[in-house]
Amino acid sequence: MDFFLQLLVNGLSIGLLYGLSAMGFVMIFKSSSVLNFAHGELLAIGAFIFLVLTSWAHVPILLSFLITLAGCFVLGFLVERIFLRPLIGEHLIFVIMLTVGLAAMFKGLLLFIFGGNLHTYPDFLPDGLALHMGAVYVPPVYVASSCIGIVFLTLFGLFFKFSSQGIFMRSVADNQTAAMSLGVHVKKVFALSWAIAALVAGMSGIVLGIINGTNVHEISAIGLKVFPVVILGGLDSIGGAIIGGIIIGLLETFTGGYISPSLKDVVPYIILVFILLIKPYGLFGLVEIERV
């Protein structure tokens, strides 16, 4: 039972992280129908900016966290401005291919600068952050990541529900033509969705880096995990992304704990296939009915 609870807690906190990172992915998809294949690289960039700031420049942790988030936000904004905006109005497949190119470019750049080795952050999380609940021990990293996850989810929830930019983003995702006719600045919404996506990706990257250390290949591979997560949750549902993330996180840790750690990466995909057989639009996806 203790083992079960331990796995449950680990799975939940990892899952929350997947969910957060998938949220960025869904936001881009919802507002502009673009599948962002460079998502994993955005995660890695966040992790490495944090690495540079903490280990090399010795900036205080909290400050480097904030600088990293701001940096990722600006990066997402620039990527939209420089690479994606000229392609507005082109076929979607061009834009998707562009993100594949971006992924290669970012990965190459990171490998060029940092090499393919494993880097680790200095140990900065206080041990007092760990939770002991009976026999269940939650390491400080997981506590911290869960807290960050919950705080950001709440913030984004409030942002989408109440702020005018959030409402504009939802309106563009729902019906772009209508949003345009009501005076919503659609290009600003695209830019903002890329910026926010890069921000949450960067944040997930940092936390993943704290848990496993940062390695370009590994972190960008984890970025690809957003695909099972968002397909499971339904490509166009932000809530679905979070729940999809938690499900994948739980599946991973339980398989790793009860069956075999080497099966950990495969089982989520197998389950995914079965869920999609039953619910082809994902758990919370919008069922599209086309009238001919």
Binding site: F162, S163, S164, I167, F168, S171, D174, N175, T177, A178, M180, S181, L182, G183, V184, H185, V186, K187
Partner: protein, 279 residues
């Protein structure tokens, strides 16, 4: 249901003074590759007018409206709105300048209520900032109340009180058209652009819509451009009519003039050849 007797405050006389809508389309061309959707079209609309654009299918009516509302960028030519060149402005700036529109295939947010759909249009009139709003400042609350009251007046006017909290996706087609008109009105547009407001409606729904549009235009002075296929309605409500065919202007004039215009009759009915003469 009782018709709304009062005048919505968005049409109060002191407001209408600022609702100048002088539209001037000069030599407008729009090409899609080799296809000339609109070629060399001129059009003038003055404040308080109701101008209709008609023409056979594919004549470029909707393309013209899309240029005026900023959804398409004209290939050449100019569009002047209140003496400023708006040909290349993005849609969000045009909305702020006072051009509101509806669409041929209703564009609403189906998962939201009628009220929420219309509320989104009010954002261009919001004066409060993020800081005050997040503190629920009294002035913010007051302003939000005012926006809501304005919407209620529009809702009363369009006789959609009973559906104000329903999801738009669950409403019948004619009702959705009305909601879309209400949302465009909530922008308080100087120029209201309507793309086929009567398409696909039952006779009764059409009569209601005609009543609303006439009241808006004649009683309150709302300037409008509308594209429509229903000739009997067009002839009876519009002050001037422009006829397009294959992207070109055929004629502009009063309804009576258009009705008797030989080119217009030819465009709609096709050329008649006297078979006996040929034989």
């Amino acid at each position: 249901m009782r018709a709304y007797r009062g005048q919505p405050r968005i049409f109060a006389p002191e407001k209408m003074k600022n609702r100048r809508a002088e539209l001037k389309v000069e030599d407008l061309c729009l090409n899609f590759g080799g296809i000339k959707a609109v070629s060399n079209v001129d059009l003038e609309v003055h404040t308080g007018e109701l101008v209709a654009v008609i023409g056979p299918n594919g004549a470029g009516k909707t393309s013209l409206l899309n240029c005026i509302t900023g959804f398409y960028k004209p290939s050449s030519g100019r569009i002047l709105f209140n003496n400023t060149d708006v040909s290349n402005l993005p849609t969000h700036e045009l909305t702020r300048l006072g051009i509101g529109r509806t669409f041929q295939n209703i564009e609403l947010f189906p998962g939201m209520s009628v009220l929420d759909n219309m509320l989104l249009a009010r954002h261009i009139h919001c004066r409060y900032n993020f800081g005050l709003a997040s503190l629920f400042w009294p002035s913010v609350k007051k302003e939000e109340m005012r926006h809501r009251e304005i919407l209620e007046e529009i809702i009363d006017f369009l006789e959609i009180q009973h559906v104000r909290k329903e999801l738009v996706g669950s409403l019948p087609y004619g009702m959705r058209k009305r909601v879309e008109l209400g949302r465009a009105l909530a922008l308080e547009p100087n120029l209201l652009v309507l793309d086929e407001p009567f398409a696909g409606m039952t006779l009764e729904e059409k009569e209601d819509m005609v009543r609303f549009l006439l009241e808006l235009n004649t009683a309150w002075g709302q300037t409008m451009i509308l594209v429509e296929h229903d000739m009997s309605i067009i002839m009876s409500i519009s002050q001037r009519i422009m006829v397009l065919n294959f992207g070109e202007k055929l004629a502009v004039g009063l309804p009576e003039f258009i009705q008797g215009h030989p080119d217009v009759i030819k465009a709609y009915l096709g050329e008649t050849t006297d078979l006996e003469l040929e034989a």
